[in-house]
Structures are given as structure tokens and as C-alpha cells.
């Protein structure tokens, strides 16, 4: 556990760097002359007609996110198998081949349904 506690304390040190600069040092020394036009979002110089919060975007971003979860879990599942690969031998390889075959069916289904092609 001691090895991990270093990470935690390092994280605290690292957080203090941006917090100190953003909230204590720069407010003291920087220039500040806000104006109505200056504080508008910069959309190529044209006054924004609506907020970006209710801006709609393509559903494909969600599909990519869902696919990512499947494949990332697969990667994480592959890691412990890969470490013990030499001990597991042919049996382990066959097990993983079955798992990957099931996953690849889904992959090719997604490919056929044109989830992967972005047009």
C-alpha cells in the first residue's frame, strides 16, 4: 500500500499547482478589462443566436461510446490472460479464441449495420 500512497500525495501536490496559479497568483498580476462584447462566446465574430447547451449533435457519438465500452472491457479482460499466457498454454489460447469469436460476431454485426462508417 505504501507504494500507492506516494501517488495520492503526489496528486495533492500536483492539484495545488493549477489551483495556486489560477486562483491566487494570476488574479494579482494579470490585466483585467472585461466588456460586454468581449465576454460573448467567440463564434467567428457573429453574435451567437442560441446557447450551445441545447445544441444537437450526431447520434453516432453515442454509438461510438457504446462500442468503446465493449472493446475496452475486452482489452481489460485480455490483460490478465496475456500475463499468464505462457503458463496457460493451448487451453488458455482456445478459451480466449472462443471469447474473441463471440465478440467478433458483434463487431462484424456493427460493421454490417454501418455503425463504424462515419458518413
Amino acid at each position: 500500500m505504501a507504494n500507492y500512497s506516494v501517488l495520492l500525495i503526489a496528486a495533492l501536490i500536483v492539484i495545488s499547482v493549477p489551483v495556486l496559479t489560477l486562483f491566487i497568483i494570476t488574479p494579482l498580476i494579470r490585466a483585467s478589462r472585461p466588456g460586454k462584447v468581449k465576454l460573448e462566446p467567440y463564434e467567428c465574430g457573429i453574435a451567437p443566436t442560441s446557447t450551445a447547451f441545447d445544441h444537437r449533435f450526431s447520434v453516432r457519438y453515442f454509438l461510438i461510446a457504446v462500442l468503446f465500452i465493449v472493446f475496452d472491457v475486452e482489452t481489460v479482460f485480455l490483460f490478465p490472460w496475456a500475463i499468464r499466457f505462457k503458463q496457460l498454454g493451448w487451453f488458455g489460447a482456445a478459451e480466449m479464441a472462443v471469447f474473441l469469436a463471440i465478440l467478433l460476431v458483434g463487431y462484424f454485426y456493427a460493421w454490417r449495420r454501418k455503425v463504424l462508417s462515419w458518413v
Binding site: 501517488l7 496559479t21 494570476t26 447547451f53 457519438y61 472493446f71 499466457f85
Partner: protein, 380 residues
């Protein structure tokens, strides 16, 4: 003086701070190196006014970032807007705790037996800051940039992880020190894993939104992408996180595929034992070797940026999902068969042959170009 507290907490923290400062200097220097090199590539000068050859630019840039006006858009979502630049900074910096810079135990900060997994977990949280910052700015271009960036980083996370699996199968450990020590007694992993090495190189460029894949900040379409609304120090933090992640990925590349701090294969050359035998000097030598290798990969980043034109977004997604993932899975399959057949050494020859073929393709004599009609070839 050798209490457990000193051993487990104080010394690692001191080492972390030293590494942290060195990385900060490298980041600042990298900014200057990149601009100078791009100037060289594009037949112009680059920054050369501040100090000798523009070297003081390294100090001038941060000072200017500190003094500039900090504009927060009135309609922005304030909490998320401030979290945007801070969030990616934290994982990008604490990852340096886990990277072995030189022969252990003196030149590593901490040694965790799942180091690689922890690094992957930490680095993949970088996407939160980008998508949060892009959304909170209340700017449509920022939102598009943030979304694109999220989709891109998420897509290339998969081949990034899958390319490492081959290395793990060969080395049999998630501990980076063990992986390096395996490589010095056998060959460096880029020989048996040449395909994985290539996938890793492409994926790490895409992960960092570097130029062939810099769609999140495509200035011809999206103003400046997710950091359009960020100015002064907040913008600097985005850049700092990006450059730190570049260094982290180069470190991973060197550790996983290019033998870390060692300079020898098959137990010959500057291996860990040889370096340890030289004492403190050997450790520093090993760290210097490591930093040199890392800087070479940083230069490759710049080289890519100067060479390749930007992808279109559908090309980027096609490359990630339809080429890189099948290629990475195929690499795992082939590696599994070679290891099970007990023919690990055969993979080295595949690596050597493919590097040889690539070199032959690169350096083959160019056919003489016929003179264009209407133009007279210059007499030499």
C-alpha cells in the same frame, strides 16, 4: 535515517519532485524545439528573437501566459469551465511516479506491480477535461471540438490497449521494470512486436490529438476546437497537459518497445547489471539514455506534424475501427501461435525482415523524372 517513512514516502516524493521539474523544463523546451524544427521543415526561421537563437522563448512564453487577461465567457458554466483545464493536468503529471527512468530502485519513484494498468487507467481520464471544457464554454465550435476529441480518443484507446497485449504475452508482467529487464536479456520488443509497435505509434499520435489526427482543433473548421474560449493560464494548462501526455506516451513507447534505460540486447551491452556495477554514474547514464530515447520520439511527433496532412473525420474513424483494431487482434493471434509453437526467436527475424523491407522502400533509388513538356531541363 532509513526508517520506513523515509523509504516509502519521503524519498519517493523527493524523486517525484525532481522528475516533475525536469519534465516541466522538457515541456517548455519542447515548445521551443517544435517551433524551431517546424521552421526548419518549412524553410523559415521560427522564433529567434528572444535571447540566443530564441532560447529565452522558454521563459518568455510562461511569463506572457501569466500576465495575459483571463477572459471567462459570461454565459459559460463556471464550475465545469474551471475544471476543464485542471482535470487533465493531474493524471498527466502523477503518471511520472510510475515510470522507471533508470535502474531501480534508485532511479524509479515507486514500483507498483500493476504499473502499466495504472498508467493506462490514469492517462485515459484525460478525455474528461477536454469534453468538460468544450461543453462548458457554451460555444458551438468548442462543443463540436470536445465531442470529436472524445470520440477520437475513445476510438484509439482500444488499439492502444490491444497493441500492449502482445508485449504482455511475451514479457508476462505488468510491472514496467520487469518488462525492461526481460528486453535486455532477450531482444527489444519492437523486433518481435513490430506490428504492435506501429499500431502504438499511430494510436499515441491520435491519443494526443497530434497533427495527422488533430481534428479536435482543426482551425479551418472549428476556430480552435475545445479551447476556443480559454485564454491566458487556462489555455497554458491545456497545452501543458497535452505536452506532458506526449512525454508520457513517448516514455511508454521507450519502456515497452525500445528497452527503457538499457542499451543492449541478449544480455550484451549496457544492461542493468552493468549499469548497477558502475554505481551512481551508471544510474545517471541509464537515465540519460532513457531521456535521449524519449526525446527521439518527441522529435518523431514533430516530424509527423511537419509531414502528414490532416485526416478527414470519417477517414480517422475508419482507420481506428476498421484497420487498427483488426490489425491489433491479428497481431495477438499471430503472437499466440508463435509462442505456443515455441518459436519466439522466429518473430525476431520477422521484425528484422520487415524493418529491412521498409528501409529498402524508403531508400530505394528514385527513378529519374522525365522532363516536363515545354520545360528545358537544367544542365548541371
Amino acid at each position: 535515517m532509513n526508517t520506513p517513512l523515509m523509504h516509502y514516502l519521503v524519498w519517493p516524493l523527493v524523486k517525484f519532485l525532481i522528475a516533475f521539474i525536469i519534465v516541466q523544463v522538457l515541456v517548455a523546451a519542447m515548445n521551443w524545439i517544435e517551433r524551431r524544427l517546424l521552421g526548419l521543415f518549412q524553410a523559415r526561421l521560427g522564433p529567434n528573437r528572444v535571447g540566443y537563437k530564441g532560447l529565452l522563448q522558454i521563459i518568455a512564453d510562461p511569463v506572457k501566459f501569466l500576465l495575459k487577461e483571463d477572459i471567462v465567457p459570461a454565459s459559460a458554466e463556471k464550475v465545469a469551465y474551471f475544471l476543464g483545464p485542471i482535470l487533465p493536468l493531474i493524471p498527466a503529471f502523477i503518471v511520472f511516479c510510475l515510470i522507471p527512468f533508470g535502474p531501480p530502485p534508485t532511479f524509479t519513484v515507486t514500483r507498483v506491480n500493476v504499473g502499466l494498468l495504472l498508467i493506462l487507467a490514469l492517462t485515459s481520464t484525460g478525455v474528461y477535461g477536454i469534453i468538460l471544457g468544450g461543453w462548458a464554454s457554451n460555444n458551438k465550435y468548442s462543443l463540436m471540438g470536445g465531442l470529436r476529441s472524445a470520440a477520437q480518443m475513445v476510438s484509439y484507446e482500444v488499439p492502444f490497449g490491444l497493441s500492449i497485449v502482445g508485449v504482455l504475452m511475451i514479457c508476462g508482467s505488468l510491472d514496467l521494470v520487469t518488462i525492461v529487464r526481460y528486453q535486455e536479456t532477450n531482444a527489444w520488443n519492437f523486433l518481435p512486436q513490430i506490428v504492435a509497435c506501429f499500431i502504438f505509434l499511430v494510436a499515441m499520435n491520435a491519443e494526443n490529438n497530434r497533427t495527422p489526427f488533430d481534428l479536435p482543433e482543426a482551425e479551418s473548421e472549428l476556430v480552435a476546437g475545445y479551447h476556443t474560449e480559454y485564454s491566458a493560464m487556462k489555455f497554458a494548462f491545456f497545452m501543458l497537459a497535452e505536452f506532458s501526455m506526449m512525454i508520457v506516451n513517448s516514455c511508454l513507447m521507450v519502456t515497452l518497445f525500445f528497452g527503457g534505460w538499457t542499451l543492449g540486447m541478449f544480455g550484451i551491452g549496457l544492461t542493468t547489471d552493468v549499469l548497477r556495477h558502475m554505481g551512481m554514474f551508471g544510474g545517471i547514464l541509464g537515465t540519460l539514455i532513457f531521456v535521449t530515447k524519449v526525446m527521439l520520439f518527441m522529435l518523431i511527433y514533430v516530424w509527423f506534424r511537419a509531414t502528414f496532412p490532416r485526416f478527414r473525420f470519417d477517414q480517422l474513424m475508419d482507420l481506428g475501427w476498421k484497420w487498427m483494431i483488426p490489425l491489433a487482434l491479428g497481431n495477438i493471434f499471430v503472437t499466440a501461435i508463435f509462442i505456443l509453437a515455441g518459436q519466439e526467436r522466429l518473430m525476431y527475424w520477422i521484425g528484422i525482415v520487415s524493418i529491412g523491407l521498409a528501409a529498402m522502400y524508403l531508400f530505394k533509388p528514385k527513378p529519374k523524372r522525365a522532363a516536363a513538356p515545354g520545360k528545358v531541363a537544367h544542365a548541371s
